[in-house]
């Protein structure tokens, strides 16, 4: 890239959000004749032009099934598909590209680990620790396994400020603990957990750690070797990539010893009517035709955030979060959940006397898209004794003016229910 181009890469200046917004075609549309104010990126992020173009280019120019044919297009598609695997490896700083398994998303990745690693390694009475912050995707797969294998699932409590209770965590770890299933960043509150420290403690106790990176991955640089997590998952669609594609990272020695999960084409070495033998990792875990175009376009999404700079993205989002927090607190009658300083990009709140669902419907008519509900994290809602919250989540393309639009719309709600 030429230095003469006014590229965001050209300096360490703050993010040029106006320019970033031009990359996202959907942001110029209106909703109910109002400009779209999209504050729901924690549910799914919008897509930049480079990702949209990359996905359509696959179908227009490079499409065939992967790992099958000897023909030209199959080779092109396979090379590009595998190039994304390599890109994910560098993006997460994994030691080897074979430690990256393509999955549909975080949910499938966790289910894969629970069903494959879990069935092979866990026995009756073994304990799994999950935090109160977890998304249902990092709870239910363990419940399913626990019911099948007679395992004990225990919750790691959080403090009133939404942060993990480390003393309680230390007290829960024991020689029966075999797995700690932990989010790196809470999808409901935005709290960033002390993952490194918790992983080290889990390892001292002899437990493995499944780190759910679905929220964290788009707000911070992830280094799975530095974290020393055993497994890591993320979904492409939350990092400006396509839906239907994500990645599971697993340490090589763990993946190598894990049995296949789903059976089918692509994952076998040899099949007769009597028996099958299986490929090595990661292909052993990738039965069937994958989301080819989506995987290829995911590389463009990872390149996009890397080019903008994850540190600068995080800085921009922190500015939005601080501003939103200040303005919401100034409104009065607002309760914010998750007040610990270690948080990113998400503000989860309730308004006195008004149910979040009503807030969601009303602000929607002002073009403001927020998530209302339990955020697929009912245990944390129970922890704070609320059925639901309003969640505004910020991404690289959001602006201070959009925070103002949210607050103005909330003022309208307040007046209506006064």
């Amino acid at each position: 890239m030429s230095a003469a181009v006014a590229s965001p890469l050209a300096s360490n200046a703050a993010l040029d959000v106006a320019r970033v917004r031009e990359d996202f075609p959907i942001l110029s549309r209106e909703v109910y004749n109002k400009p779209l104010v999209y504050l729901d990126s924690a549910a799914s992020a919008q897509k930049p032009r480079v990702v949209i173009d990359a996905e359509s280019r696959v179908y227009e120019e490079e499409y065939a099934n992967v790992h099958r044919g000897v023909h030209y297009l199959s080779q092109v598609a396979t090379d590009k598909f595998e190039a994304t695997r390599k890109r994910i490896q560098t993006f997460l700083n994994a030691a080897d590209e074979n430690e990256i398994v393509f999955v549909r998303g975080g949910t499938e990745g966790i289910n894969l680990v629970a069903q494959s690693w879990g069935r092979a390694n866990l026995a009756e009475g073994d304990e799994i620790l999950i935090s109160e912050l977890e998304h249902h995707a990092n709870i239910v797969p363990w419940h399913l396994l626990a019911a099948e294998r007679g395992l004990v699932v225990k919750g790691i409590p959080i403090h009133d400020d939404g942060q993990i209770d480390m003393e309680a965590y230390k007290g829960l770890l024991n020689e029966r603990t075999k797995m700690v299933a932990l989010t790196q960043m809470s999808n409901a509150l935005g709290i960033i957990t002390p993952a490194s420290e918790m992983i080290a403690l889990a390892h001292e106790a002899g437990a493995k750690v499944m780190l759910d990176g679905c929220q964290a991955v788009s707000h911070s640089t992830v280094d799975v070797q530095a974290l020393d997590c055993d497994f890591y998952v993320f979904s492409g669609h939350k990092i400006y990539g396509p839906t239907g594609i994500g990645a599971l990272y697993g340490k090589a020695e763990l993946l190598d010893a894990m049995p296949p999960w789903q059976g089918g084409g692509e994952m076998i070495a040899r099949v007769s009517l009597e028996k099958s033998t299986y490929k090595g990792v990661p292909h052993r875990f990738e039965a069937g035709t994958p989301a080819i175009a989506q995987a290829i376009a995911l590389k463009s999404a990872l390149d996009y955030v890397t080019d903008l700079g994850l540190d600068r993205i995080a800085e921009h989002e922190a500015m939005l979060l601080n501003y939103a927090t200040e303005r919401l607190m100034a409104m009065g009658g607002i309760t914010i959940y998750g007040t610990n300083q270690a948080k990113a990009s998400i503000v989860s709140f309730t308004m006195d006397g008004v149910h979040p669902h009503d807030i969601g419907t009303i602000v929607d008519r002002d073009g403001v898209a927020v998530r209302v509900g339990h955020h697929c994290a009912q245990p944390v809602m129970q922890r704070f004794d609320v059925a639901a919250t309003v969640r505004a989540s910020f991404a690289v393309y959001n602006t201070l003016e959009e925070v103002d639009a949210l607050v103005a719309s909330l003022q309208g709600v307040k007046e209506m229910f006064a």
């Binding site: 008004v354 009503d358 419907t361 008519r365 639901a388 309208g412 229910f417």
Partner: protein, 153 residues
């Protein structure tokens, strides 16, 4: 404020939402069911006291939810009181059509019940909220059926 929002959040709805009627647990109820809306996490319990002939002597509810679900539950308890079971079920059918737009006639119909419930018809313009409006009604019929839990999914 846009017109369809005003239609949805009429004063009557806001009033029932804030001060729901029959928000209690009658000691002598003989039917009850719990209703869940998994979309938003709302939960409510409907209590019914029916005599052997199917007369609804008392109906009440407890729980938490949005203004729409609370108002709908509140109005339902007021209207079902003193009816027989078949009437109550027929009323739900009428109401269901009203909020889903399934029956074009309901607007102009000369019908005392619908005159009262018409305030909830604004939900039609908000398909995502129909479940909020019907949760209490589904739960009441489940209680009458002898089921213990119902979900809007």
């Amino acid at each position: 404020m846009m017109d369809d929002l005003r239609d949805l959040y009429q004063e009557v709805i806001l009033d029932h939402g804030k001060s729901p009627r029959n928000f209690r647990h009658p000691e002598d109820c003989n039917r009850m069911a719990e209703g869940d809306n998994p979309l938003c996490g709302d939960q409510l319990t409907v209590y019914v006291k029916m005599d052997r002939g199917g007369l609804v002597e008392d109906v009440a509810f407890e729980g938490r939810g949005c203004a729409i679900s609370m108002a709908s539950a509140s109005m339902m308890t007021e209207m079902v009181q003193g009816r027989n079971e078949a009437d109550a079920r027929a009323l739900f059918e009428k109401f269901h059509k009203l909020v889903t737009g399934g029956d074009a006639d309901v607007n102009g119909a000369d019908d005392e019940d619908l005159d009262k419930l018409i305030v909830l018809s604004g939900v039609r313009e908000f398909p995502m909220r129909v479940k909020c409006a019907t949760l209490a009604w589904h739960t009441m019929t489940a209680a009458m059926d002898g089921e213990e839990t119902v979900t809007t999914e």
